[in-house]
């Protein structure tokens, strides 16, 4: 287990360094930042001074190393628009996104797992058809479109729920459900197929023959063995949720990092977009590591391979 942990953490470090390298490369592609930072009437001397101030007159490799070491101490550049360090701006918006993503995940797990189990148990009945219908639509609906439809129905027409902002718990409901729909479809599909797989195994037939009560078979022998693929998929979904949040936050004017990133793109505030991408990636990598460790604990085969 210890070697597994060490190998897995090393992978996270490599991943984050790799992502930073990509971001650094893109930053260089973006060209000379002084064009955005200085007024058009600035002189050449002013421009060169700013370049020196930003450390952009140094050789590329030195810039790269200092980009990495600065990031390690929490300094990932200056937002051009706000003219202050980008990281605190991102961190300030981060809790709202985490709240949205975790609520969406909670909604999708709480609806998808029971529905998936039910669909597996009542295979080829209307429950199964209903569940797979939801799965097909949930996977094919663009998240921001479902958001607009929900606003149209629950805010504009029925006036039950607010369509924007983050005041109070009611404002969380629509964005969280919208964001969770796609994930719900995926989790339900895997729950169904994984349960069907396990319930068809010989050992399930054996415990059933022994006269063990059906709910014990379902939860102790069924769900526990079906859990690994479900947990693994849930971990992977977080990346999609954080990405989907970019769109959902824009639709619902939710004050998280997604909306921050979109607005930063509009104002060409490159370092700020980059900081959001970096923070989200780090979060996603860490969560995935924990999920992998959890799976390794659930299933010894994984850590032995």
């Amino acid at each position: 287990m210890l070697t597994y942990l060490a190998r897995r953490s090393l992978l996270v470090i490599v991943t984050i360094t790799g992502v930073m390298t990509i971001l650094f490369g893109l930053q260089k592609l973006a060209g000379d930042p002084t064009i955005f930072l200085l007024p058009p009437e600035a002189t050449e001397t002013e421009r060169l001074n700013l370049l020196r101030q930003l450390g952009l007159d140094r050789p590329l490799i030195i810039q790269y190393i200092s980009f990495l070491t600065n990031a390690a101490t929490g300094n990932i550049g200056l937002s051009w628009k706000y003219n202050q360090p980008a990281l605190p701006i991102v961190l300030e918006a981060f809790p709202a996104t985490i709240l949205l993503a975790t609520s969406a995940l909670a909604f999708s797990i709480l609806t998808a797992v029971p529905l998936g189990i039910l669909a597996a148990l009542r295979r080829d009945t209307w429950v199964d058809t209903f569940a797979s219908g939801i799965a097909v639509i949930g996977q094919a609906m663009p998240v921001y479109w479902s958001g607009l439809l929900f606003i149209l129905l629950f805010s504009t027409t029925l006036r039950w729920l607010p369509s924007m902002g983050s005041e109070g718990w009611l404002a969380l409901i629509l964005p969280a459900i919208t964001l969770g729909l796609n994930t719900m479809a995926r989790i339900m599909r895997i729950t169904r197929s994984s349960m069907l797989d396990v319930l068809g195994q010989d050992y399930v037939r054996t415990v059933r023959a022994k006269g063990i009560p059906e709910y014990t078979i379902l939860f102790k022998h069924g769900l526990r063995n079906a859990a690994v693929p479900i947990v693994a998929l849930i971990g992977l979904q977080l990346g999609g949720l954080l990405g989907g949040a970019v769109l959902i936050e824009t639709v619902f004017s939710w004050p998280g990092v997604g909306r921050l990133a979109v607005n930063a793109v509009y104002s060409r505030d490159f370092p700020l977009v980059q900081s959001v991408a970096l923070m989200v990636t780090i979060t996603f990598s860490l969560v995935n590591m924990f999920v992998d460790i959890l799976c390794a604990m659930l299933n010894p085969q994984i850590r032995l391979n």
């Binding site: 991943t15 973006a30 990405g243 490159f270 989200v280």
Partner: protein, 276 residues
């Protein structure tokens, strides 16, 4: 053919036919403005004759015609993005599976890295650098999604490289590129087609999402995502501006998914673990 497969192929056939014949089947010029008929409801009559089947937008442009022309952006971006991803990902996946250990680890770590960045965020970063355009959308997609093709190709390679006919190619002194092209790749076509259809569905959702943010197709090009963005401002008064493009996107995505499911069902069921 299963019912699902028929529906899937049917939808895609319609979309492709619409894209090719757009100039002839569109009831109006997609960019013709009819200001008197601004925000006309579905089935309203145009000021110069003709029926606006799906209504008009704020500028009085016919929604039906814009939906039909929108298939062009949707198909171009989806097939462009997935094609480029496959062209990069499949060779890299083969290299990882059939060449030495160093290349194997390099490719696998690289896939881990790019797949750990949520696609839409990387696209935002790229768009802020390169500017918004359809070509850049395709580039943004390929930069990340090659990894999906590489991964599947690699896991298929692991199985195929132990097969007798592949080993005997080596024994017979057939070169590696020839072995891969003639004996390995043809045996991967089915599973890779499934990946491609899933990626196509993903690509059109992402394309419309970025267009919705105003970072995809330029405003004068009719695109479904762009129409949704405009419709958002009229949500209270003109529901058809939101409903029509959304249904178009969803139906197309369902089409790709169904075709993918159909191909998967036709394949060896043992491959399902690799292709989830």
């Amino acid at each position: 053919m299963s019912k699902k497969g028929l529906v899937g192929f049917g939808i895609l056939f319609l979309v492709i036919v619409a894209a090719i014949t757009a100039p002839w089947i569109s009831p109006f010029d997609p960019n013709a403005q009819d200001i008197i008929n601004s925000l006309a409801a579905p089935l309203a009559e145009g000021s110069e004759g003709g029926i606006h089947l799906l209504g008009t937008d704020r500028l009085g442009q016919d929604v039906m015609s814009r939906i039909i022309y929108g298939t062009r952006v949707s198909l171009t971006v989806a097939f462009g993005a997935v094609g480029v991803s496959a062209l990069i990902g499949i060779p890299l996946g083969l290299a990882a599976g059939f060449m030495n250990r160093t290349i194997e680890s390099l490719v696998l770590v690289a896939t881990d890295i790019v797949l750990s960045i949520p696609f839409i965020l990387l696209a935002l970063v790229l768009m802020s650098v390169l500017g918004a355009s359809l070509t850049n959308l395709i580039i943004a997609f390929a930069v990340v999604r090659w990894a999906q093709f590489a991964r599947v190709t690699y896991s298929l390679s692991l199985e195929l490289r132990e097969k007798e006919y592949v080993l005997s190619c080596k024994a017979a002194g057939i070169s590696l590129p020839r072995t891969l092209a003639v004996h390995v790749l043809p045996n991967m076509v089915g599973p890779l087609m499934v990946v491609a259809t899933l990626e196509l569905a993903y690509a059109i959702l992402m394309e419309s999402g970025l267009s919705f943010l105003g970072l995809g197709a330029p405003p004068e090009t009719p695109s479904w995502g762009g129409m949704l963005q405009e419709g958002r401002n009229e949500l209270d008064t003109a529901w058809w501006l939101t409903a029509a493009p959304g249904i178009a996107i969803m139906a197309t995505a369902i089409g790709y998914n169904f075709v993918g499911d159909w191909i998967r069902d036709r394949l060896d069921p043992r491959l399902q673990g690799v292709l989830r």
